[in-house]
Amino acid sequence: MKLLNPKAFISMLLMMPVLAFAHSEQGIAGGFISGFTHPIFGWDHVAAMVAVGLWGAFLGMPALWLLPVVFPVVMAVGGALGVLGIDLPHVETVIAASAIVLGACIAAALRPPLWVAAIVVAAFAIFHGHAHGTELPDAANPFAFAGGFVLGTGLMHIAGIAIGYLVRWQWGVKIVRGLGAVIAFAGVGFLLGFLAA
């Protein structure tokens, strides 16, 4: 376990992107990286995805697994609509609104019934999926692109769940609610154009 020195690990992480992006990738690798970075480099997506994990952890079981399961399942339906060329209205607006609503729910410590939380997450997931799905048919390798963006999305949920575990402590609840408020304000910024999504 000596090998897992936190400072060394963080230093390695800091160096990793430089190595990873030093070479351009083609084919499967290119498709995967393109899909993986699609949700990660869109701050509006990041805010909403992390909020889903945070809210799941905040609500506890069974929301902890249900919300991160409902999101990709319904997101795939939205993605399929995008792939099939079926337009949805105001996609970017709803994505920004998802950050506001989910962030506000966490900040206000709302604990709605499980089915209400699932429906709220599912409704927003359709729009997030649609945004990714429209780019899927143009991807060099659709499998790699789909795998990349589903994995990227899922990892952000897991990051949210991991941060949400702080709610086990009283001070952690305050931090998580504070993060919810930050996400909600960021959503307002995306919606009004103060922040670039």
Partner: protein, 212 residues
């Protein structure tokens, strides 16, 4: 399953899997059996097939009832054999696009069931295994050639499918029984939801390609 819970098992399995490729690739295949290895490797080089094995592993491996495990394995073996034989020798076969569509549909349904209701509906699980094996059996079909070479290659493909199925089921079952913890079941569910999302999106892509 007791042996799988033994502390040495993971160490032995790790060493064996580390040594295995070296041993395997150290020798060239016996004369006349090259087709067997070609057929076997063909299965492991197809990403959709690997995803299908993983989905089946998550579906079947989360059963703790030994009877269900045996029934699912028996259904898989018999169906994949029948499907391959019918496709190979009776020429009841479908075109590759239809098969790919069918495979992603089965993977999507299996993944959705595992994500939402992993321990519900034993008969439905067995039925899904049957459907998956029927599609996989069709996908093991080698290119036409002399009878013996064709049969040997097909035997390799079918053996690889059965091995892939067993490995995935055993791995999931090992994890399921070894760590009977909530986080591990949560990870299985989330992973299955991801697989559903990927397979459903690829179904949509294939449908769009079909339309265009």
């Amino acid at each position: 399953m007791e042996v799988l819970r033994h502390r040495c098992f993971l160490a032995i399995a790790g060493c064996a899997s580390w040594l295995w490729p070296v041993t395997c690739l150290a020798h060239t295949p016996s004369k006349g059996l090259q087709g067997f290895y070609t057929g076997a490797l063909h299965i492991y080089s197809e990403v959709p097939l690997i995803v299908a094995f993983m989905a089946l592993g998550l579906l079947v491996g989360q059963n703790t009832d030994i009877k269900t495990l045996r029934l699912s394995a028996a259904v898989f073996f018999i169906t994949i054999l029948l499907s391959s034989v019918l496709a190979g020798f009776a020429w009841i076969e479908f075109n590759p696009q239809t098969l790919a569509f069918a495979l992603w549909t089965v993977v999507a349904v299996v993944s959705l069931k595992v994500a939402l209701l992993p321990n519900w509906g034993r008969n439905i699980s067995v039925l899904l295994v049957l459907c998956a094996a029927a599609v996989l059996g069709q996908m093991t079909l080698p290119d036409p050639g002399p009878f013996m070479s064709f049969a040997v290659t097909m035997a390799g493909s079918v053996s690889a499918c059965i091995l892939g199925f067993l490995c995935c089921v055993a791995s999931v079952n090992l994890l399921y029984e070894r760590f009977q913890l909530l986080w591990q079941r949560t990870i299985f569910r989330i992973f299955s939801a991801w697989m559903f999302a990927i397979s459903f999106l690829l179904l949509a892509v294939q449908y769009t390609n079909k339309l265009s």
